[in-house]
Symmetry: C3
Subunit: 253 residues, 3 copies
């Protein structure tokens, strides 16, 4: 038995979509149901992928993560399930799992696991939820469908790391206005003077906590182990007009 079902969607909390998924799960499984979040922007598959990459390393016991950001619902896009450590990630095959270190992948095709007479417009309730419940209740992974070799991947360029220069991009702006990049601190020499260039600004101070440098923007190693551009008590993203996907260049001199 997988003891936890964790939900990530772009359904928001106002509409009955999240509640409907939970009703189906509760009817079919004793698993603990936890909300990862439902406020991914509508249809923002990349935002969902970045979110999943942040939480995936921390699921240590058997868990089924159900991720539904699914503008293609009802088309012939498959549903897939990927194994990462001891967790399973159930998602539409639209790139949502792009940033995860998938160990094995299956297509979910066993329609006997779906709700009978399900809709064409809400697979979260009619397919994802009952499949997650079945897996949580001990259905063997093979029972959902055949192994898959490929899945859809979002176009995403890994950062490049050179001796005197590294180039990455902003992958998220968080609630606090931190501009989170994909530049991994362990691959950078942060003991030497470094300049970050983003948009028309240069940031050349490094902090070890958010209160150390009270005024102006600074670089900090964030909770993903990557460089963030931050400011104490205010939004660095607003301050420097940084948006997601902006290019960030680190230069050592």
């Amino acid at each position: 038995m997988r003891s936890t079902i964790a939900l990530l969607t772009d359904f928001g909390w106002r509409d009955p979509y999240v509640g409907s998924m939970k009703a189906v799960i509760a009817a079919r499984s004793e698993a603990r149901i936890v909300d990862l979040g439902h406020d991914i922007d509508a249809g923002d598959v990349f935002g969902g992928a970045v979110f999943l990459a942040a939480v995936a390393p921390y699921f240590g016991r058997s868990t089924v993560v159900v991720a539904v950001v699914d503008p293609g619902v009802g088309t012939d896009r498959p549903i897939i399930v990927g194994e990462v450590g001891s967790a399973l990630f159930l998602a539409p095959d639209n790139g949502l799992l792009t940033l995860l270190p998938i160990q094995s992948l299956r297509r979910v095709e066993s329609s006997s696991l779906f709700l009978p007479e399900g809709s064409n417009t809400f697979h979260g309730r009619d397919r994802f939820a009952p499949v997650a419940a079945a897996l949580a209740e001990g259905a063997p992974l093979e029972s959902v469908g055949p192994l898959a070799e490929e899945m859809v991947r979002l176009p995403y360029s890994e950062p490049s790391y050179q001796e005197e220069r590294a180039v990455g991009s902003v992958i998220a702006i968080d609630r606090f206005g931190n501009a989170v990049t994909d530049l991994e601190a362990r691959r950078l020499r942060l003991d030497r003077t470094v300049k970050a260039r983003v948009k028309n600004s240069t940031v050349d101070r490094i902090a070890t906590n958010y209160q150390q440098l009270p005024s102006g923007p600074f670089l900090i190693v964030g909770s993903r182990g990557t460089i963030e551009i931050s400011a104490s008590g205010k939004s660095a993203a607003e301050l420097l007009q940084i948006a997601r996907f902006d290019r960030v260049e680190l230069v050592w001199s």
Copy 2:
């Protein structure tokens, strides 16, 4: 024992109201606690009723659903509990259960189940939560109070269906901008050319998924089994200036 308590309120997440209800429930019951949503507009009883109607069919095991959209708290409006399938719906008697197929109905009057010295302004915490916990822990339904014959119903006109014409209304605008109507697809002939008139617009295309018709609005059978007016990747409600309660007329020619 009822294993799940599911919460729907208009309390939002910023204030301590939802947390207070959960504290009371957690203190008195081992039940799984799940959030259906807390972002019903403040005092929007009809919005709550429409939400409940969407999730109600999916609670298959014993569940206590607690619905608190309760502008009349502290007046003499009763609290009621309605049975739908194997779930119980606990709510103020203000129309919140209007759209549910209630099988049996009771008034919740056993004040020994309430928190002692409860407030007059927060029955969610002081009455609904402890009653839900008691029911989840196995208190017999009869113990909450006497059978009731009637409950308050919101003024709501069922759609009308004729050979060449059907008339219903928009019951919700969802996060994606879909205008959800109450016109049930199984009562409509969707194989023939149909025109929907809403506000000053006419929509005459039918899609089977949200990406099929990339530009402009279309009709689609949504997750409630009813007609929705939608648009691919944008808000049909904004596009056509549709609001809740707008009349929708389907005409076959």
Copy 3:
């Protein structure tokens, strides 16, 4: 074993922070995980303190409440755990527990309980979550660290109560626009004519429910047992331009 872990943060639901904490907890504990809320304004420690004071009286069984509003993360501010009734409150030592009747207090210093190689910027995931899970799984309270005598307290003046006059302040504006004060009803003579002065307005009517006085603002005893300034179906705070921390004076004549 403590059966419930309850979370209060200022992380919002959009970012992966809440989900990361839950992943860590789910990996290490069977406890029921409940959300108190994650929409405390970013860095608003007083708002968090007021929230905790509202829910604290209602946790009756063993619960670990994890409160993370933590702008000083990564500085040398300690983490503390306070006992209130049968619940534990885990929080940064920054004033978040100011309004709770703490019975015993410890500093959380046993780094063996933290995630190995944790970040400097996200103690919610790397320290609070695993410590909460350990406590929920039965780790003795002494194992987290030594007894502490003091904790940081926010500057906050208790209301003053005199024969003909009481002075307090607005501690929260809730979703419904109620201006919640800290003036405790049980210390006031509400059977006599009373006038409340706040900003440039005077409110002299008392209601026992939110619908009793349809037009204009009134006083009511709210769910904390304190005076609220409210208005039926609209926001009293907007109507009277009341903000948090505004002074409220009650005068009997």
